[in-house]
Symmetry: C2
Subunit: 342 residues, 2 copies
């Protein structure tokens, strides 16, 4: 399996994350994907290739142009205003307030945020843009006939909505790829999100559409980020009704229960008969993850990789979360080798 990777991910190197009322060193850090890359080379998964340079056009198919312009200009605007820390919102348009973009960057940033833990920094935009290119380059491989490809994106993307960033995400890489498949001729795309956290951004982007089925296995939002989306009763709306499937699961869920949900999701994917499968691959379901509460072992990742292969679909893997930095390489590559050599 080919892997697409860009060293430009390292330009995203925030020093602060708002967590538990403190500014701590971010869990979403450059070392994450370096561990994955190392493991890919160690097991000989396949070649690692650089991304093509791609215009923003496919990104703008799922994101608001003003939001992308905000991401691009946020850091310089933030600094020009005299703010001394990394860019973190302190006021947001809450219930009953107006959803309009104020001129002051200290307000603008709150308008576009769905969470405040994620600091925007000097190198964030070039890293984010490189990440989208990584995703789209892997997507193009599938379009051109590869059976599978791995987009080793960083930062992740699945929490980013049409005009919201947060949860370490800015551009929704998997959503951009799903739309690109459709724009290149696919009729139906399934997006399966196995990250520990609900893929609220992806869900929201395709919620009213039948051409993308979204399925997410994740920690119950009563207890886990993003808290305000990902409940079992969210089934899609309008023409998209019936094409959204959430599997929220309780603290301490282990592979037996988790894989039952995955098998149910696979049955729904089979019935949907998509042209292609895109997997939001987060490995924070691991028992050792510092900010999650499932109990998957490293072997379990290989097992579910094999299970995904049984769908026999062209499959794009897009890197999302996973924060037990040492083990993220092994667990991610276990999914890919389980898939590639079932």
């Amino acid at each position: 399996m080919l892997t697409v990777f860009s060293p430009d991910h390292a330009l995203r190197d925030a020093k602060t994350e708002l967590s538990g009322g403190e500014l701590v060193a971010p869990y979403e850090c450059p070392a994450r994907v370096e561990y994955v890359l190392e493991q890919i080379r160690q097991v000989g998964l396949g070649d690692v290739i650089p991304p093509d340079v791609i215009s923003l056009d496919p990104v703008l198919r799922v994101h608001d142009p003003l939001y992308i312009e905000f991401l691009r200009s946020c850091w310089s605007r933030w600094r020009a205003k005299g703010n001394r820390g990394e860019a973190i919102p302190s006021v947001i348009p809450a219930r009953g307030m107006r959803q309009r973009v104020p001129q002051n960057i200290n307000g603008t940033i709150g308008y576009y945020a769905m969470a405040c833990e994620t600091a925007i920094t000097e190198g964030t935009w070039p890293a984010v843009q490189a990440g989208a290119n990584v995703a789209l380059t892997a997507q193009a491989l599938i379009s051109q006939g590869e059976a599978a490809a791995f987009a080793l994106c960083r930062p992740p993307g699945h929490h980013a909505a049409r005009d919201l960033y947060g949860g370490y995400c800015f551009i929704n890489n998997v959503a951009v790829c799903a739309q690109a498949f459709l724009d290149q001729g696919a009729e139906r795309v399934a997006v399966l999100d196995v990250d520990f956290h609900h893929g609220n951004g992806t869900q929201s982007i395709f919620y009213e559409r039948p051409d993308v089925m979204f399925l997410s296995l994740h920690g119950d939002p009563q207890h886990a980020f993003p808290y305000f989306l990902g409940f079992a009763d969210e089934n899609g709306a309008g023409p998209g009704e019936g094409f959204n499937h959430n599997y929220p699961m309780a603290p301490s869920t282990a592979y037996d229960v988790w894989s039952d949900a995955l098998q149910d999701a696979c049955r729904k994917i089979e019935a949907y008969a998509p042209d292609v499968l895109a997997v939001s691959l987060g490995v924070d379901t691991f028992e050792g993850d510092p900010i999650s509460f499932f109990r998957l072992t490293s072997d379990d990742f290989k097992r579910y990789g094999t299970l995904l292969a049984s769908l026999k679909l062209p499959t794009l893997f897009v890197m999302e979360g996973g924060y037990a930095v040492q083990e993220i390489g092994v667990n991610t590559v276990n999914v890919l080798t389980g898939f590639a050599s079932p």
Copy 2:
């Protein structure tokens, strides 16, 4: 003029405020009201009396009971979850997400926040409750026939909505008092908010009601907190249409322009003919305020106090913001002496 004051305000003594991407010492600090108290005594404004102990019933007339329970229990729940810093949300229910309260306190706190700068701390709830008692005790003085009274509340209240805290505010003291006047027989109450920041909480609580007219002079929300409410086209809704008046003003606004707006507001109040006037008294319109951008001088505060006296209404002053700590005493008391000895 009688002043009501409780030393319990000092129990609210947060160490951190999220500002410019950093955790800084809060601008809203205990010294603020101590300077005011000192100046009250220095000029001999009148007696300073303690608040009565009052039940939460009048507070629950304007706030959601679950919100009040959240304020009461937040700190212990936050600490029980292992969070090490003061209680600050890092995820909020943004556009397109669900407005429901998750069980995990790290989500609950985001549900009830309209801003993330305001940390909830161990002593916050008792101080907030004491502040409401201060406001209601002063309100009762007016109901019992006093011409004017000053509630030296801390923390402030005008940003707090029915179920939202933020901007240093938790219980909306002036809104609680306005409702109490109505519940005790008043037919119409005018709330005039002269704080630099728009009183978004007060506006939202009474937005669809004709029995409270809300008027606010403030920094244009395009450029100033709270950014997402306080625009000139917000005139009330339903039965409340025509009973909400905003005067957003540009950076560097000085007394000539500001007092024109105040005179317009006074004309509207006169036409409304309320039984009582409640003034949200913030003095962050001062030229030296560190987080605001108007240009009022200390003398201007006396001048507008006199202007308010010309309305000849029973008048309750409720302390809101003001962060140029040294001068907050002089400027606040200048309003009160300008009013009391025009």
